[in-house]
């Protein structure tokens, strides 16, 4: 199973095995990783599952689809490595992915 590293804003790091087909958000929520709220449940409607993708991974994750950038406008302190974790689906290619959570969600 692909392994994903979730780093809290405080620096706390969690290495989690996430099954293919789940979203990076679901991987965090199902494993009680703090820092990802996902209020809307993955509908790309709230921007509270915002993460920063580690620079070297940013171009390897599938590109943003329509609407994600609009939602990121509302995220807390977005930057050019920002993504909504509900929109990144885990595959073998994402084994080793590293994401960092913002200071808070919204």
């Amino acid at each position: 199973m692909p392994k994903i590293t979730y780093i809290e804003n405080s620096g706390n790091s969690h290495l989690i095995e996430v099954a293919n087909g789940l979203s990076v958000m679901e991987g965090a929520v199902q494993n009680n990783i703090p820092g990802i709220d996902a209020d809307c449940g993955g509908a790309m409607a709230c921007a509270t599952c915002h993460v920063y993708v580690k620079e070297e991974w940013f171009d390897k994750v599938p590109k943003k689809e329509e609407g994600e950038e609009d939602m990121l406008d509302m995220a807390y302190e977005p930057n050019k490595f920002s993504r909504l974790s509900c929109q990144m689906i885990v595959t073998d290619e994402l084994d080793g992915l590293i994401v960092t959570m913002p200071e808070k969600q919204g």
Partner: protein
């Protein structure tokens, strides 16, 4: 004091259908919602997005679903208290007394919380030192636009609210529009208008910038904005407006003594009552093993919670199950003419 059988907190789809379920079993209710319109997340987050998993409705939008639910409960002439947030609840003898931020008070024998993920509040600037200016020179909504006349106003955001206010205020104020990227998500006509005003020198536009810091004493004097590449720019402004949409906050619900699991309220699955007698939770806000955050699950939860409210409203009567297809009493309540 408004007396009713059940107070519903939340006018989203689940709260609305619960009005129906209470109505057909003969219970009265009042509904409070912090948004200024009926529909909850369906209307605030995705009015135009199609929904495909409402039973027997192959496709509808958030707005369409809301309108149909409003139509379905028309006969009950329910009062909606919009733009009001429930602040406190307390139990006095066998009744729940509820108070809103506008001072409205309710007395009911039960409360149904159908509040989604809480109430919608404006998203704020992440910058640390803004708090002392919030509500004065840093604003997230506009009540009186005349205060900006002949002043400098710096507007942050890329959606319709930001664009519309930039256009509107540019008539009487110096407007500076700042957005974190080059694309604006507002309507194309508004984007074109802003670009035109920019050409004419009536609006200054900075993209790929975000708020970095705020300086001032009693009042704001300067702000700095930071470009994606790290460049910092200083701006002299009287007002700072942020339009970043709304976020859901659990808010006062967390202080009512209910058991909480993360941001949800655990309930039993027999009638969706919480740890507090007479307080029920349905829809996205409730949790139980196997919970699905689907509108259809919320409808089911509301149907059972409504029956759960019956014994509190009419302790001396026995609830009798009836079908809408065959019960004359139910049809009368629905205003069906035969």
């Amino acid at each position: 004091m408004i007396k009713t059988d059940t107070l519903i907190i939340g006018a989203g789809p689940v709260g609305l259908f619960c009005v129906h379920q209470l109505g057909i079993i003969g219970l009265k209710c009042e509904v409070v919602d912090n948004l200024d319109k009926i529909g909850g997340q369906c209307i605030e987050l995705y009015p135009d997005k199609p929904i495909y998993d409402i039973p027997a409705v192959p496709e509808c939008t958030g707005e369409g679903l809301t309108n149909n639910l409003i139509e379905q409960i028309k006969a009950f002439k329910t009062n909606f208290h919009l733009d009001e947030r429930v602040e406190e609840i307390k139990k006095v003898e066998k009744k729940w007394i509820t108070k809103t931020n506008k001072g409205t008070e309710f007395e009911s024998s039960s409360i149904i919380i159908a509040a989604g993920v809480g109430s919608f509040e404006p998203r704020k600037f992440p910058t640390k030192e803004i708090e002392k200016y919030e509500g004065k020179e840093i604003l997230y909504s506009i009540r009186d636009k005349t205060v900006f006349k002949d002043k400098t106003v710096c507007i942050f955001g890329g959606g319709d609210s930001a664009l519309d206010w930039a256009i509107e205020l540019s008539n009487t104020s110096k407007v500076i529009l700042v957005h974190r990227r080059d694309d604006f998500r507002g309507m194309q006509a508004s984007v074109d208008k802003v670009n035109q005003l920019k050409e004419e020198g009536k609006i200054e536009v900075y993209t790929k910038y975000q708020l970095d810091s705020v300086q001032g004493k009693e009042k704001i004097e300067n702000i700095t904005i930071k470009h994606e590449d790290g460049t910092i720019k200083e701006i002299k402004t009287d007002y700072v407006l942020g339009f970043f949409g709304l976020i859901m906050q659990l808010g006062p619900i967390a202080e009512w003594g209910l058991n909480l699991d993360k941001k949800t309220v655990p309930v039993n699955t027999e009638n969706f009552e919480t740890n507090k007698e007479g307080i029920f939770a349905i829809g996205d806000i409730c949790s139980y093993p196997g919970k699905l955050k689907l509108i259809l699950s919320g409808f089911h939860e509301g149907a059972l919670a409504a029956r759960g409210c019956f014994k509190y409203a009419k302790p001396d009567e026995k609830y009798r199950f009836e079908f809408t297809t065959s019960s004359k009493t139910v049809k009368d309540r629905l205003g069906v003419k035969e």
